[in-house]
Amino acid sequence: MNWLQIVTAEIGHRWKTSMLMVTVVAAVTFGVTFFALDVQGYQKEVSRNVRDLGSNIVIVPSTLDPVEYYNQGGFSQAIMSQTLVQELLDDRMSLNHLIPILEKNVPVTADDLTTNARVVGIAKSIPMPGRPKAPMQEAIIRNKIQVGSAIAKQLKLERENAGAVTIAGKSFEIERVNRSTGTWQDAAILMDLGQAQLLFELPGKISRIEALECTDQECAATGKTSLAVLEEELGAVTKEAVLLRRQSMADARTRVRDLSVANSDLLQNVLWTLLAVSVACFALTNAIGRLSEVAILLSLGYGRLRIVTLFGGRIAVLSIFGSVAGCVLGSLFVAMWCTGLLISTGSKFSIDWGTSCWVGLIAVLVSILAGSLPAFWVVGKPPASLLGKDG
């Protein structure tokens, strides 16, 4: 008889405990798969949310007067060359999501109403090469503008059918009126950067570059603070710009992200341990309950390898069924759950089948190991010492 015939016969004979084994493995792999994937989605969501807090690094011309800049709520007339953006990219600075901005305070008119607005030419965020990310800032359509809620209120613009606004003698169609954010952006009009440069006759010039710091690795490697790392990197690229770090925002972002990662890691470790211990215990119990069979096989001249193959084979067959079921169901359920739960990233949530496969594989390996171990352990003992010793 080959081992598969014996294993199949055994599974059929003990179908209740076999089903229980499949159910336990399925339930545990379901749970681990679900949480492992949920944690991935959760981390992405946290990452997106802290990113959406806004840029925490501002690179401004070195000629900028900080007092004037802060007095005017983060605004300055100072400008610098846009080529700096490319230089930062070429130098692989520890930044991402670079957003070049040119802004001016100018009067704007809609119908007969006029008010002063902060007109901001802004480009789509530029990812650092090798660090591709979903854009933090989308491009603004040329010849169209986005109007802040405070400006819209002063110019009596409606959210629907807002019409057009004249800026520096040129009329722009309103793409949309933005909802109030409680920031300076409520008093701003956003337009395409290139178009703003033409409008203000400042080709190739920008007021500042906003960005997100990505200094974790550098800080860990050098022991320096994030600000020190960035200032050192920027100093190597140009002397015509300086760097401002929005301290509390940057620290909050780092703390939230680190906490999220640490908590997720802890949860994952607990889950992996749960997977290993529960499956191992069950497989072990199953195997210990069959010591008499080991004795019979030994008395018939079966060697260690054949006996371990029989015990491991049974567990392998059952745990494969269980883990496949658990991983597939866990993946599908987490997809359903995360799509609704994760507001920012849920629509893009995709099942990480690689992680699911790892969970399943480890469940199978742990089961086989735990199921084979007792047989491996006792196989050198005299058969009579095992008869009637089923645990």
Binding site: I6, H13, S292, L298, L300, G380
Partner: protein, 235 residues
């Protein structure tokens, strides 16, 4: 001639919480090919222990067991497994059939099993119509015959049978003994433990365990001289 089984000063005791129970004491025994040796004795006298120790199934407390010249308990695990797989056929008193295999599968799962031989043996033992049944569908007597078939199917050099007819009717017992007789006549060596007087007529030697010692049956007060036991002249 080399004995197929030889025990040298074989001893076995069981330690309990309160006492040391000595079951076998310095047993010297030789069994040659073509010999039927029956061991008798009251329940608990140590028959099964002697058979388990002699058949390579249980580590004795002292002494040595040689099967076909190989010191069973000094040999490596692999050698011991090979001995069990090729030279020893063992019928446990508790039968120990695999419950999820059919009668035929229980016999065929023996290593190096001749599948036709398995069927023939089961037919001879009156189990032709039971081959596809599981052990739990059989009477104890039928299970006993399945266990015997499993022990004999590889035609071992040494067959150790512990109460093979304990639950059989007279007619079936006779049949079993006839089959065992044929096995011995064909050169097999049989070590049998039984209470069944029917076995006496088939045995070449009958021994008895009393007070931990192996005695010539019927001479219970006197220990059998060693040369009688080892040379098979005690009958």
């Amino acid at each position: 001639m080399v004995p197929i089984l030889e025990t040298v000063r074989l001893g076995h005791h069981f330690l309990t919480r309160y006492a040391c129970l000595e079951v076998l004491d310095s047993i010297d025994l030789r069994i040659y090919p073509g010999q039927w040796v029956t061991v008798k004795g009251p329940s608990g006298s140590g028959k099964s222990t002697l058979l388990l120790d002699s058949g390579g199934m249980q580590l004795p407390t002292s002494g040595q067991v040689f099967i076909d010249g190989i010191d069973v308990y000094a040999a490596s695990m692999q050698v011991r497994n090979n001995l069990r797989g090729t030279k020893i056929g063992y019928l446990f008193q508790t039968l120990e059939l695999i419950p999820y295999l059919t009668v035929l599968q229980n016999v065929q799962m023996v290593t190096n099993c001749d599948h036709e031989m398995a069927k023939t043996l089961l037919q001879r033992l009156g189990l032709a119509d039971r081959m596809a049944h599981k052990p739990n569908c059989l009477s104890h007597g039928q299970r006993q015959r399945v266990a015997l078939a499993r022990a004999m199917v590889k035609i071992p050099s040494l067959l150790v049978a512990d109460e093979p007819t304990g639950n059989l009717d007279l007619e079936t017992s006779q049949l079993v003994y006839e089959i065992l007789k044929q096995y011995v006549e064909e050169g097999g060596a049989l070590l049998l433990a039984t209470h069944d007087p029917l076995a006496d007529g088939f045995s070449d030697r009958i021994l008895e365990i009393k007070n931990s010692r192996l005695l010539q049956w019927g001479e219970a007060t006197q220990s059998v001289p060693k040369h009688d036991l080892v040379d098979g002249e005690g009958m």
